[in-house]
C-alpha cells in the first residue's frame, strides 16, 4: 500500500525550523492515519528515514540515532530507496523551508522521479524564492509593491534612503540589514556577506511600517485565511527578526500576533484582492503565506512564502482548520496529479528521419 512521507530539513539556513514544521506535520498526520513516513534531509544533503513521532531534541546533534540511510533516484519510477526496498509513496508532504527544498531544486528532482508532492512546482518555487524576479512579476500583474533593485556598485537606486537590503534568494529574515545610505550598503556588500553572494536586493526602508500576513490555500477551492498582524516586541530590532519569529518557545505558531488584524474594511478587501491575483500569477499551490507591508493607510505586497513555517495553519481561524485538516486537503490535491507534466509533442521523429549522417553535420 502506498504511503505518505513528510520530507523536512535540508541544506538551508532554515533547516532547524523545517524540522519543527516537518515533525508537527508528521504528528498531525499520524493522528489521522497510520501510513505516515518521515524523511529527514540532512544539512549535508543526505537522506534518512526517521521515526515520524520523534521530538525536535533528537535532531540537536545531527542525524537522529536509529535512522536508516536512503538513496534518492531521479528517474521515472525512482524515488527513495532504503536498504531493502523502495518506499512506495503516493504523496510527499514537502516541509522544507528555504534553500533547495523551497527554491525548485527539490521539486524538480521529485518531478524527474515521477513523485507527487505538496507545495509549489519547480517554477512556482523558483519564482517566489527570487525576490528580484518576484518583484518584477508583481509589478507586471499590477500589484502595489515597493520598488526593488539589485544592490550593486553601479550607483544608488532611484528611490530614497534609508534602505533595507535582503538576500536575493532566501526565505528567512537571516541576512537582512538596514542602512542609512547607499554607501553604507555598498561597503557592507564589499565584505561579501555569505547570504548576499548570489545577489542582494535593495528597497526603501520604511520606519514605523508593520507587517500584515494572510495565508492562501488552493484546495478544495481557493481560500484565504484571516489577516494577521505580527506584534513586534518593544525591545525589537528594526526588522521582525528570526529570533522573534522562531525562538519564542513554541515556534511560529506561538509568536505574538493580532489575529485577526484590526484594520479598516477597505484595507482588508485590498489585501484579499491582491492575494487572490497573486496566487494565480505566482504559481501558489497547497498553502502559502503572503506578506504585506503597511504604513498608515498604504499597503504593499512584500513577499510570498510558498512553504510557510508551520504551514501557516494557525492563521485559519474562521472557519478553524487544524493542521491535520489542512494537510489532508493538501495531500488530496497532490494525489490528484503530478505538479508538472513533461511534453514531447513535436518530437515525433520527423527531424530524425530527415537527418543525414551526424558526421556530415559536423562537416
Amino acid at each position: 500500500m502506498a504511503r505518505i512521507a513528510v520530507v523536512f530539513g535540508g541544506p538551508s539556513p532554515e533547516h532547524d525550523i523545517s524540522i519543527l514544521t516537518g515533525l508537527q506535520a508528521a504528528r498531525a498526520l499520524l493522528d489521522l492515519r497510520s501510513d505516515v513516513d518521515a524523511i529527514y534531509w540532512s544539512k549535508s544533503g543526505e537522506w534518512f528515514q526517521v521515526s515520524p513521532d520523534l521530538e525536535a531534541h533528537a535532531f540537536v546533534e545531527g542525524v537522529p540515532r536509529k535512522s536508516e540511510r536512503l538513496e534518492f533516484v531521479a528517474t521515472p519510477g525512482g524515488g527513495f530507496t532504503g536498504r531493502r526496498k523502495r518506499l512506495d509513496l503516493s504523496v510527499i508532504v514537502n516541509a522544507c523551508h528555504g534553500g533547495p527544498g523551497e527554491d525548485g531544486t527539490l521539486q524538480a528532482a521529485f518531478d524527474l522521479a515521477g513523485l507527487r508532492y505538496t507545495g509549489p512546482n519547480a517554477a512556482g518555487a523558483a519564482l517566489t524564492m527570487d525576490k528580484l524576479a518576484f518583484g518584477g512579476v508583481a509589478v507586471a500583474a499590477g500589484l502595489a509593491t515597493l520598488p526593488r533593485a539589485l544592490l550593486d556598485e553601479d550607483g544608488p537606486p532611484d528611490f530614497p534612503a534609508p534602505y533595507i537590503v535582503k538576500p536575493r534568494f532566501g526565505g528567512s529574515s537571516i541576512g537582512i540589514e538596514v542602512f542609512e545610505g547607499y554607501e553604507d550598503a555598498v561597503a557592507r556588500l564589499r565584505t561579501s556577506p555569505p547570504l548576499w553572494r548570489d545577489g542582494a536586493v535593495i528597497e526603501s526602508y520604511l520606519p514605523g511600517s508593520s507587517d500584515l500576513n494572510v495565508a492562501v490555500r488552493t484546495h478544495p477551492t481557493l481560500q484565504l485565511s484571516a489577516i494577521e498582524a505580527p506584534v513586534r516586541r518593544a525591545d525589537s530590532a528594526p526588522i521582525y527578526s528570526y529570533g522573534q519569529k522562531y525562538l519564542g518557545g513554541e515556534g511560529l505558531a506561538g509568536a505574538d500576533r493580532e489575529l485577526p488584524a484590526e484594520i479598516p474594511e477597505e484595507m482588508s478587501r485590498g489585501i484579499v484582492e491582491s492575494a487572490r491575483r497573486l496566487t494565480l500569477v505566482a504559481g501558489v499551490r497547497s498553502v502559502a503565506r503572503i506578506d504585506f507591508l503597511r504604513l498608515g493607510s498604504d499597503v504593499w505586497l512584500n513577499e510570498v512564502n510558498s512553504i510557510p513555517g508551520a504551514l501557516a495553519w494557525y492563521l485559519w481561524i474562521d472557519p478553524r482548520l487544524t493542521l491535520g485538516q489542512l494537510l489532508t486537503d493538501m495531500v488530496s490535491e497532490a494525489a490528484e496529479g503530478p505538479s508538472r507534466q513533461f511534453s514531447t509533442v513535436g518530437a515525433d521523429g520527423t527531424a530524425l528521419r530527415a537527418a543525414g549522417q551526424i558526421a556530415n553535420k559536423l562537416g
Partner: protein, 505 residues
Amino acid sequence: MNLEWLLYFPAGGAAVLAGLRWLRVAQREHYIPGSVTRITSYWIGSSAANALMVLAGASAAAISLWIPWVGLFVFAQVALWPLGLSIRGRTSPLRWTRRLSTLAVVSGAILVLLTASAAQLGISPALYVAGGFLIVDAALLITRPIERRIGRKYVRQAQEKLERVRPVVVAVTGSYGKTSTKEYIRHLLSGDHQVVASPASFNNTPGLARAVNEHLVPGTDVFVAEMGAYGPGEIAEMCAWIKPSIGVITAIGPVHLERFRTLERTAKAKGEILSGCETGVVNADEPLLAPIAASFVERGGKLIRCSTKDLEAEVCVLSVDGGLEVRVGGEPIGTLEGSPGFPMNIACAVGVAMALNTQPWLAAKLLATLPAVEHRQNVTTNPKGVVVIDDSYNSNPAGAAAALQLLVRQSREGSRRVVVTPGMVEMGRLQHEANREFAAQAARAATDLVIVGLTNRRALLEGAMGGGADVLQLRTREHATAWAREHLGPGDVILYENDLPDHYP
C-alpha cells in the same frame, strides 16, 4: 557434597548489576581508560556508609579465601554499592550504543576468563567480582585500539570531505573558555564568512569527525573546531587530520590535572594546536603560554596576542566603566555595555576575526549583538523576580571567581545572594584546595552557600568555615532548585555554579 558451585549464581547477578553501573560511568566519561576507577574513588570517600561498605566488603572478600560462603556477603555488597549511584541513571541514562555493547561484551569475556582461571586455582569469585570497576577499566584499555580503528573510517570520510569543501579551519582549545570563544568566533565571522562550528560536545576525534561529516555543508568558508584534551598528544592527533591554519589557545588552568599532572604540561599539550598553523591567537596574559608563543614565532608563525590588560597586544579587551572596550592594534574599535562575556574569550574571537581580515567596523557591529552562551554566566530573571545566574557548565576556578563577582554586581542592598554548587572536578591533587578556596570566596560574597552532592562536600565545608554565609547541604541540584523556589523572592540572586552528572556522588 560440595555446593560451592552454587555461589556462581549470586556472583553473576552481582557482577551484572555492578557492571551496568560501571558501564554507564565509562560512557559518561567518554570511554577514557582509568576514568571508572577515578569515579569509584570519589564514591568510596563520598559517605561513611559507602566507605564502611567497601571496608566490610574487602574484609569479607579476604575471609572468603578460606570460607567461601562469606562470598555471599561480598556479592550483596557489590550488587548494592555505591549507595546513590543508580544503574539506569537519572540525568544521563545508560544508552545501548554499538560502542557500549562492545565494551559490555569484552568486560563479560574478562569476567568469564577470570572465573575459569580462578576455578582452576580454587579461588572464590568474591575476590574479582568486588573489583568490577577494574574489569571495565581493563576492557576500556583493550577496546581502545579497536575503537580507534573503527573511528578511522569516519575520520577518513571527514578528511575527504574537508578536502572537497576546503574551509579555513580554526581550531580552539584551552583549559576553559573553549565553547564560549568558539561561539563568539562563529558570530563575529558570520558577517562575511559562511561559518560552521562544531557542536560543544563534539570536541574529540570521533566527535569532530562526526561534526565534519554531518554539519560541514558545501560552500563553508570557515570551520571552527573545538578541541578538548584529556592528556598530552591528543590535540596533535586531532590536528594531524583536521589541519587547522589558525590555532587559538584561550586559557591554561587546573583542569584534567589527573592526566596532565602539571600546568606546564597542560600548556605544552594545548600548544600542540599551533604546530601546523600559520596564525596563532593566544592568551598573552598567561605566562605559561609565553614560551609556546615565542617558539611559534621563531618557526615563522604569525602571532596575534590577546590580552585584557596589555595595550600593546594585537587585541586588547579592557574592562572600563560600565562595560568592555575592544582595541585592535591599540585602536579602540568598539565598546560593549555590561558584562556580555569573559573578556579574554571575546579578545580571542576578535583575534580570529582579524586573522581572517574582517573589517574592524563589521566586527564592532557584530560585537554589539554577541550571543549569550547557554549555561555560561547566563543572567535571567524568573517570573518570581529572582535573578538567576546559570553558570552550570563552568568547571574552573577563574570562571567561578568571575561568576561570584557577577553575583555581587547583580544583587541589591539587602537582597539574598545564593551560590549553589557541587564544586569542581577533574583537577587532580589541586581539587581539594581549589574547592576549599572557591568556597571561602563564595562564603564571603554570598549570604547562602548550598553544597550539592557529596563529591566535594568536605573541601567546600572547610572553605566555607569562617565566612559569613549560611551553609546548607542538599543531595541533588533538583533539591536545590526546590529549596530556591520556596525561599527566594524578588530581587534575590542565585548563582548555579557548575553541575555534575549523577554518576558523581
